[in-house]
């Protein structure tokens, strides 16, 4: 093994000599159908992994809900189906992904300095059948993670090969239909993975969403995931009508129904194309990984959240088009150092580069036709990061992971208004420390401390005037630090049961706040959160599994509540899969109450939804599945906001609750053929 001078010095900080060594982080072997144990693997109680079977067993109304396999996470929708989901986790209203970093196959999904919201995370390009695993990590405790990862990180990876080719066809209520075809034939000594998905969904809305999407993946891979490479092309396009949130007063006085809308021209179009590649090499002493990507995203989005508040004649509809090309390279190298049977160490160095070339804007529109320009910008945002992380196993009982990360961001904004153009840059160094202590056979304790960050919208880092009001504004810093501390426990002391408990605190120097009537996020005041999370998975028999997660959080900013910040969430899932033809699952989700304004005088109600699924094996390779959403047909909100709006015919603004209802009970029937 050849060691280069700088890594050698770094390595010498932790170990004095190396011997011939072997694999690093070993996945626990999966037997008897149990979820893979994270004992001895994970660095915190809030980290975990869900496998393909776990994910296939989820009952997901929309692809973004796959992320709900992360205990405590909620993915919701407040608009048309093609729009990015609304996420909640760890006491955050994450809007469209402000502090939740999502990755698919080494590509960042969050879009920074996005026209509609910082960290925009549109997962509609995801094809669930291709996902091999989802790894999640909550809290800012890893030097490997950067922007948007303070609440958590969800990382999904597509399989290089499918065990069998799949063809599936689904029909459902409310105009839902989906067909999907995927396979992975061996070609030229490698595997050619292909997938095509066509989907349409109208939803229960008075004006149908008319959501149509076409989604395709083509990947060629050679070798094994840890010793091989792949090149992947993805393409997604979708268009939809939106039923945005509606004012409660209009529903209560009968002016509109629960599934009606105010502005019948809201909606959008999205396109995403990417080419990416991953190369990995692993031997007994070291592991290297390089991934690179080019992503082109285009969005047209027309929204109207305040109706006739700002413009009683034309209405308040606005457009937020965004088109961008994101390029990036991530590289890591790990040296595995092995001193004795109980003492070993992995030293990882990594670098991440990302560039976004963005054209976006904010326009006043009427029935999707532009009538005024609020702002129009060309943004170039470039970031680089380097990190060093050392994971040492001091004994069978004690492990530590220590890391440090340096981030540099450069923002360049050219726009239609010279006073809001310019350049800015920011640098941030973030340390992390994780200790896992488990002198017992099946229980571990964790202590975690770390700094994380999110970037602010580039436009705010150079702005001097508000383009709407022309008032002077202060420039925001480019990068905002978060500080997290957590104590956790993971135990399998009860046979066939995996349990974890985490208590955490997370401070942010500045909260990214959603501005309802502007349809954007802005840098706000500092915040502090406390929370507790409890997660259980019990598999008493091979054919029966029960999972239960509960999370509670307290979020404050300068002593005030944070609008939309989630306080509690819980999920109970039961899955039955006997060896016979029948299988089934039920999932109960409690989406806890949220304060809707700072003084907590207006709050959203909690909602409970029950989803179910029954599968029947018609033949060896033919399965019929019936999925039912909102089985109890509850009338509840998918999301609530409180702000001022004005309807046609109203003479003054009205501060009111605005909500988007959850979909009533609906069924989907799927036929899956594998070969």
């Amino acid at each position: 093994m050849l060691l280069r001078p700088i890594p050698c010095v770094l390595a010498a900080l932790f170990v004095s000599s190396t011997t011939h060594a072997d694999d690093f982080q070993l996945q626990r072997v999966l037997v008897e159908g149990a979820r893979a144990s994270q004992l001895g693997i994970a660095d915190s109680a809030g980290a975990g992994s869900a496998g393909a079977k776990d994910l296939a067993g989820r009952i997901a109304y929309r692809p973004g809900e796959l992320l709900e396999v992360t205990p405590g996470l909620i993915a919701s929708q407040h608009s048309g189906e093609g729009k990015a989901n609304q996420f909640y986790l760890r006491g955050f209203n994450l809007d469209h992904g402000t502090d939740l970093a999502t990755w698919v196959d080494g590509m960042p999904v969050n879009q920074r300095s996005h026209a509609h919201g910082q960290g925009w995370t549109d997962l509609n390009f995801l094809i669930p059948e291709l996902v091999g695993r989802l790894d999640y990590r909550k809290g800012p405790y890893s030097a490997r993670e950067g922007d948007f990862s303070s609440a958590g990180v969800a990382s999904l990876s597509y399989a290089n090969r499918l065990v069998k080719s799949i063809a599936s066809a689904t029909v459902g209520q409310d105009g839902y239909a989906r067909t999907m075809l995927a396979g992975s034939p061996e070609v030229a000594g490698g595997s050619l993975l292909y997938a095509l998905e066509l989907m349409k969904n109208d939803g229960p809305w008075t004006r149908p969403d008319g959501y149509r999407k076409v989604n395709a993946v083509l990947r060629y891979s050679q070798g094994y995931a840890n010793n091989g490479w792949n090149v992947t092309a993805m393409s997604y396009s979708g268009h939809w009508n939106s039923t945005d949130q509606i004012p409660l007063r209009a529903v209560e006085d009968g002016r509109i129904g629960r599934f009606d809308l105010i502005d019948d021209s809201d909606g959008g179009k999205a396109r995403r194309q990417s080419i990416s590649g991953i190369w990995r090499s692993t031997d007994t002493d070291s592991a290297s990984k390089v991934s690179a990507y080019v992503i082109r995203n285009e969005l047209e989005l027309f929204s109207n959240f305040t109706y006739f508040l700002n413009d009683p004649v034309n209405g308040d509809q606005f457009a937020q088009p965004d088109r961008r090309v994101t390029t990036g390279v991530d590289a890591t190298h790990t040296w595995h150092m092995h001193r004795s049977d109980t003492l070993s160490s992995d030293l990882t160095v990594g670098a991440q580069l990302q560039n976004d070339n963005i054209y976006n804007g904010l326009y006043d529109t009427r029935k999707r036709a532009r009538i005024a320009t609020t702002r129009e910008d060309h943004i170039v945002e470039t970031s680089g990061a380097v990190f060093v992380e050392n994971a040492t196993r001091w004994s069978d009982a004690l492990r530590t992971v220590v890391g440090v990360r340096a981030n540099n961001y450069r923002f360049r904004v050219d726009g239609d208004r010279p006073e809001n153009a310019g350049k800015a840059h920011d640098t941030l160094v973030t340390p992390t420390l994780n200790i896992a202590y488990g002198p017992w056979a099946s229980t571990e304790l964790y202590a975690n401390y770390g700094h994380g960050f999110h970037s602010n919208d580039a436009r705010g880092t150079v702005a001097t005037v508000d383009p709407k009001t022309l008032d002077a504004v202060d420039r925001t810093p480019g990068l905002v630090r978060s500080r997290g501390v957590e104590f956790g426990l993971r135990t399998e002391a009860i046979p066939k049961m995996q349990m974890s408990l985490a208590v955490y605190r997370l401070d942010f120097d500045s909260e990214l706040t959603y501005i309802g009537d502007a349809g954007n996020t802005e840098a706000g005041d500092p915040s502090r959160r406390y929370g507790i999370e409890f997660s259980n998975y019990y598999r008493p028999y091979k054919w029966l599994s029960v999972d239960f997660d509960a999370a509670w959080a307290r979020a404050r900013s300068l002593g005030n509540r944070i609008p939309g910040a989630i306080e509690g969430v819980a999920q109970l899932g039961v899955t039955v899969d006997r060896s016979g033809p029948w299988s089934g699952s039920l999932r109960l989700r409690w989406f806890g109450p949220r304060p809707l304004i700072e003084d907590d005088s207006v709050r959203s109600k909690a909602s409970v939804t029950l989803n179910g699924r029954v599968g029947y094996q018609l033949a060896k390779d033919l399965q019929l599945e019936l999925e039912a959403f909102n089985l109890t047909n509850r009338r509840a909100s998918a999301i609530d906001y409180f702000y001022e709006s004005q309807l046609a015919g109203e003479t003054a603004p009205v501060a009111d609750m605005h909500f988007h209802p959850i979909e009533p009970r609906s069924l989907r029937l799927t036929l899956v053929k594998t070969w």
Binding site: T19, H20, A21, D22, D23, L26, Q27, R28, V29, L30, V31, E32, G33, A36, G40, G51, A52, K53, G132, R133, S157, Y158, A159, N160, R161, L162, V163, Y224, A225, N226, N227, D283, T284, H338, D341, T342, L343, S344, R393, D396, K542
Partner: protein
Amino acid sequence: MRLHGLKSVLLALLLCASAAASAHRFHFGMTDISYNARTESTEIVHTYTAHDIDALLLNLYGRQFDLSDVEDQAVLRTYVERHFWLADKDGKKLPVTWIGMTADAQSVVIYQELAATPLSAAAVIRQGMLVDFLAEQVNTVNLNEGGAVRSLTFLRQTLEQPAR
């Protein structure tokens, strides 16, 4: 189908050595091939470390498999049948059939059979299990003919060897 006493001890020691996640792990496989006069069949028993098989499938398919699940066992079967075979003197593959497998957190044991065929029918053995995945994989094949045991060692450079 009984492992020789000394080999059992050796196997147990190797499995223990490979069990500790942090320890250096030996990548090895052991295949016992013997003729059973009672059933008049040649019986084949493979033993591998569970971690190696788990990692193999994880890195091949990008997902984890439950080796106690029959559907998932079929995935391993496909791999085994591609990398381990016996051929007669004309180079024609002999019809080795899959009997079953067992798995626990330590080891994976795979049972195959060459029905109504003596071991002497096998002229060539190919044992490439895990070798394409782990460069250091060492596979030992023990041939038990009438109580006499011969051992062959298969490395990346020697995937095929004459059986006699």
